[in-house]
């Protein structure tokens, strides 16, 4: 047999050459470690940590703005006593809800859209991390950042008010239920905002679309809900078959749902729009849970199917 024939046979059967690539021989840290790394990286990215100063301005500025009402209230209380309390724990969300949404609109696209834009999802998914882990790590990072905005100002207000008192210990004992209420209501509104913001960002690779989409959805649904609800006649007036349903429109507005949820926790009377809707408090809580669940499900589904 000739030499030429031998070469042909090698070509047909294929042959393996040792190019000298090294195998990785170190410790494999596994899925849980990858999840934790991605979570911590997402949390840092949310506040622009590890990135340029320009990326820090908006998230940290919004966080500072969320603290302002608490600091003003503490200053007023320290100087003038407790006669005037425009800022309270039960209406804090209605004051800083806008800040939370803008924070979501600024930060969620960094977590949900950027990796799609730069086509790096395949790099994540080719590791120990699974698609669901990626989605959950992103959700957890945004939720933690949102919790910081929802909870820290309220705890500052609560603890600050106690310290202004001549007897802080008895104030804390008298108001021992407050931390639980802050925590419960804060977790719900943060979950709701996280779900909505990350769901919308996960649907588009472009940051601008995501930011616009989040704000458009939130504030237009807000206007829609409160305006339709305002058509509702007072409860005693006769209702036509359409006005019998219009009061439910408040549930279209994520911020009114958040507001109703917080008021249910603290047991305070609703303001004008919510009073007109005349819904039981638990309805708002249920609606907030539904918003959060739909948002989280959308994120999981999107990252479960996206071509990477």
């Amino acid at each position: 047999m000739s030499a030429g024939g031998s070469t042909d046979r090698v070509g047909a059967g294929g042959s393996i050459y040792d190019l000298g690539y090294q195998r990785y021989g170190g410790r494999r840290l596994g899925r849980a470690y990858a999840f934790r790394s991605l979570y911590l990286h997402g949390l840092a990215a949310a506040f622009g940590i590890g990135r340029s100063t320009r990326s820090k301005v908006v998230p940290i500025g919004l966080f500072a703005i969320a603290l302002v009402p608490a600091l003003i209230e503490l200053g007023v209380t320290a100087l003038a006593g407790e006669a005037l309390q425009p800022v309270r724990l039960d209406n804090y969300f209605s004051l800083v809800g806008t800040v939370m949404v803008l924070f979501g609109a600024a930060v969620a696209p960094e977590l949900g859209s950027r990796d799609q834009r730069h086509h790096v999802l395949s790099l994540y998914f080719s590791r120990a991390l699974e698609r669901r882990d990626y989605a959950l790590a992103r959700l957890a990072a945004l939720l933690t950042a949102m919790l910081a905005i929802a909870l820290i100002p309220e705890f500052v207000l609560y603890i600050g008010t106690a310290l202004i008192h001549s007897d802080p210990v008895s104030y804390l004992v008298d108001h021992a239920d407050q931390p639980g209420l802050i925590l419960g209501s804060g977790v719900l509104v943060a979950l709701q905002a996280t779900g909505v913001a990350l769901a919308i960002s996960s649907l588009t690779p472009r940051r601008a679309y995501a930011t616009g989409g989040i704000v458009a959805y939130w504030f237009i649904a807000d206007g829609l809900g409160s305006l339709i609800a305002s058509i509702t006649p007072p409860p005693d007036a006769g209702a036509s078959h359409i006005t019998a349903w219009t009061h439910l429109a408040v549930l279209l507005s994520p911020s009114l749902v958040g507001d109703g949820t917080v008021r249910w926790f603290f047991g305070t009377a609703p303001d004008e729009v919510l009073a007109r809707a005349d819904l039981a408090g638990w309805v708002y809580v249920a609606a907030a849970v539904v918003y959060a669940a739909v948002g989280i499900a959308t994120v999981l589904r999107r990252f479960g199917r996206i071509a990477a």
């Binding site: 320009r54 919004l62 806008t98 600024a106 601008a208 616009g212 807000d222 206007g223 829609l224 305006l227």
Partner: protein, 248 residues
């Protein structure tokens, strides 16, 4: 090709780039909302149409829809090209940079005014009786066109300062105009929202107007002109100093 031709080419190109596909879909969905609300109101046999129309115009069109659409279009007409890097191909051409800014601004403002104006007009015609409808539509159209120009000028200027123009614009609209101007009356002098309301209230056929405007028509026009001119001049100045390699 003459100067007029260049301007037209720029405008057509911008309209094709910035108003395409998904951005338009989101804007259209948003613009459908006031019409939907007016329909529900009409079907529910609504009471007090003048108050409802004022709430609709002030509460959803002027406070939310107009700034949102203007910021989305305004940041995409020039910002989209900066982000994609295609601005380079525009800047290396012998076109005056003030013409680029003018074309971008015009397209963004016109698209906003048309979309939001039609949405408001339909909603008002549905909710108001025929005696008031057309007059109110006239008032809202003029005011919306005015606001579209100012907001778009601000948005175009912002895209030349920061890569986060949209979120910065939104923070201005929802925190400054929405929250701060509600608490501190003096800041209303620096609120585009109030310039729009001032113009609308002056043209409103129902007098006294229910629009809760805080500025007179003269100051709304004067201050608005000042802001729009300052933003445009600033944008031209920034673009004139724009280095092709720069990625803001």
């Amino acid at each position: 090709m003459g100067r007029h031709g260049v301007f037209r080419q720029l405008a057509v190109l911008t309209a094709r780039q910035a108003l395409g596909r998904r951005r338009m879909l989101v804007a259209l969905l948003a613009a459908a909302v006031p019409v939907l609300v007016a329909l529900v109101y009409r079907l529910a046999g609504g009471q007090d149409p003048e108050l409802f129309a004022s709430d609709l115009l002030n509460g959803i069109v002027v406070t939310t829809l107009l700034p949102l659409v203007a910021l989305i279009f305004g940041t995409s007409v020039l910002g989209g090209e900066i982000e994609d890097g295609t601005i380079v191909y525009l800047l290396v051409r012998p076109v005056a940079r003030r013409e680029i800014v003018a074309a971008k601004l015009l397209v963004g403002a016109a698209a906003t005014a048309i979309l939001v104006g039609i949405s408001a007009a339909l909603a008002l015609l549905i909710s108001l009786p025929p005696s008031l409808g057309p007059g109110m539509v006239m008032a809202s159209s003029v005011a919306i066109a005015w606001g579209a120009l100012i907001y778009t000028a601000i948005a175009v200027a912002l895209t030349l300062v920061t890569g986060h123009a949209l979120i910065v614009g939104l923070i201005y609209v929802y925190l400054w105009e929405g929250v701060i101007a509600g608490l501190f009356a003096g800041t209303r002098l620096a609120s585009v929202h109030q310039y729009v309301l001032g113009v609308a209230a002056a043209l409103d056929p129902t007098q006294p107007s229910l629009l809760q405007a805080h500025l007179s028509a003269a100051s709304s026009v004067g201050l608005g002109l000042l802001v729009a001119a300052a933003a445009t001049v600033f944008a031209v100045w920034r673009l004139a100093g724009f280095e092709v390699a720069e990625r803001p």
